[in-house]
Symmetry: C2
């Protein structure tokens, strides 16, 4: 069915077959196909033609043993992490492997529950990956230190405290959060709370920075800032703490969608209605947000694209480009949904 034109039975074509077909030696075929300069155009054409005729594709492991490159990107998923990133994993993986595939690379996935660094070391030692994508970067990330010292290429999804030697792709989340503040302030809110996530991760500081910038720009107080809300339960707890203050917020910004959904429960217990008494905007773009009542306004991240870009950046890093040239910042897109409004505070509605 496939229609392979193997020179001999059903075996896959080897470089020897190509050499025979083209009437040159296998060494020459190798150099021709890999673009070495000391091959004439005519010979190169004969090699590529013969390769195409036979459907030749070099065997990755065979090249790996000489070149030391296996043309695979590594990704280690940490099962101990809180699962805020779970919903995106499929999109992200698809983007990564698709980006790798366009260059003929593959994606090697490993998981680590405890000894994360050991997992990386094993993959390096056994040459299962030429470089790594590091998701969920921490402010001071041990993986960065380790890979830096080992001289193994890597690219961050997120940023790092010390960007020296780091290539990265990230979302301009500070701008998004600043925008969120200004958006709510424009609607008349004067008491805007921010509920952050994990303090150890870089995203949290960056989002807080944006919040503080927005608050300053709007001339509002920054006394309603909390952290540590990672899921629905902790998000509810944070909301409860804030709503119980003497001068409670009328609007919330959450660093994480899933945590924001905890506000619904906290609000119900106090007979406050989101979209009327309270406004809330979050960040991530998880599918669940679209199904709450009212739906959750959020800054959505395109994780498929993130995977695509990270694969490209990492491959270029492995090929030797300078990390300083491999840094990209993309934007989150605002999904304007019901939860962002609080009719009590709308210009058309009640008082300020």
């Amino acid at each position: 069915m496939g229609g392979r034109v193997g020179s001999r039975g059903d075996r896959r074509a080897t470089i020897q077959d190509v050499a025979r077909e083209a009437g040159i030696t296998k060494g020459t075929v190798s150099r021709a196909l890999n673009g070495h300069p000391d091959i004439s155009d005519a010979t190169r054409a004969r090699a590529t033609d013969a390769a195409a005729r036979l459907g030749y594709r070099p065997l990755g492991s065979a090249q790996a043993i000489r070149t030391g490159r296996c043309r695979a990107l590594g990704l280690v998923i940490e099962t101990s992490e809180h699962d805020a990133h779970r919903p995106f994993l499929a999109e992200f993986l698809a983007g990564l492997s698709q980006g790798a595939a366009t260059e003929g690379w593959t994606l090697t996935v490993a998981s680590a529950s405890e000894d994360t660094l050991g997992t990386y070391e094993m993959l390096i030692e056994e040459r299962k990956a030429d470089g790594f994508v590091l998701p969920r970067t921490r402010r001071d990330d041990p993986r960065v230190a380790m890979l830096r010292e080992a001289g193994v290429p890597f690219v961050l999804f997120g940023r790092h405290g010390d960007p020296e030697g780091c290539a990265w792709f990230d979302i301009d989340m500070a701008t998004a959060m600043r925008e969120a503040v200004l958006r709510l302030a424009r609607d008349g809110h004067r008491r805007i709370a921010f509920v952050g996530g994990s303090a150890a991760h870089t995203y949290n500081g960056l989002r807080e920075d944006g919040i503080r910038a927005g608050l300053a720009e709007a001339g509002l107080a920054d006394d309603l800032i909390l952290h540590g809300a990672l899921d629905r339960d902790t998000g509810e707890a944070a909301a409860t703490a804030l709503l119980d203050r003497t001068d409670p917020p009328t609007a919330f910004i959450y660093a994480i969608d899933l945590a924001a959904l905890g506000l619904w429960r906290a609000a119900r217990k106090r007979d406050l209605r989101i979209g009327e008494d309270l406004a809330v905007i979050a960040y991530d773009g998880t599918p669940e947000g679209a199904h709450s009542e009212p739906p959750l306004a959020t800054y959505a991240v395109d994780h498929h694209n993130a995977g695509l870009r990270l694969a490209d950046l990492l491959i270029r890093r492995i090929r030797g480009e300078a990390p300083e040239d491999l840094r990209e910042l993309a934007h989150a897109t605002y999904l304007d949904r019901g939860s962002a409004r609080a009719s009590k505070y709308q210009p058309t509605g009640g008082t300020t």
Copy 2:
């Protein structure tokens, strides 16, 4: 830092180094380490000792070129699939790669948006995987036909219409669904609906079989069966259609959690309350189900364990065990939550 004891500088130890260290030839080391019978115990001990001293680990790609095995499991995720399985992907992947790791294998992930079979063929052609895990099996699955013909080992997560030559791991979902029917019937429900998912996939028929068995056992009619509910919207549509009948159901069983959540909206529009006027049980165990009001009763699947088992089965399949010996059926665990009750129909409550 790592403390490798490489015989020469920082280079990783090769089989030559081990041979030198043990005072035997590299061929003998290879045979000793791979358990060939024609090696004396004494020599084998010297080889393993030397290997341990040097921290030797064979280079996968080097073995691959001779043995034809790369010691990697392949997984192709189809991005075009509806995203009912997304929430589990992280757990599932973790299980798979962990299961692979225990045998020293790795997991190669690729994605396919259109040409799924082509993706498999490419991975086979380039020997990026020794076998495949096929998730979301269809009743008549083209991947099975292709891999069967190509002679490439595979293992199904789910079952197949023609089990010939198929190894698989699956959940005994028929029993779960049958139990669900009996559970609801015991609570006094006489009108029990079943809302299935994708008819092309095997899971749907198996779940329907269980439902019908349960209905027959309870002596109830099977006129409330619908299919095609894959997400919240289609789940709501199915619920609407059923509730609008002249003799509507008082209890629902959904084949998919996510679809079951669509019942909440349909019920609200009719002023029916789940946990009071209506009972619902679903299947999957998605995290979202725990946060609805009332929480969704469901048969939860341990996807991490599924990954673990599938990795083990596939590796054994690749090593040559007969597919008939590589079939496992696990059980879903019932999460008894609020949505399963309908106080109107409880023995303590109203009439039958």
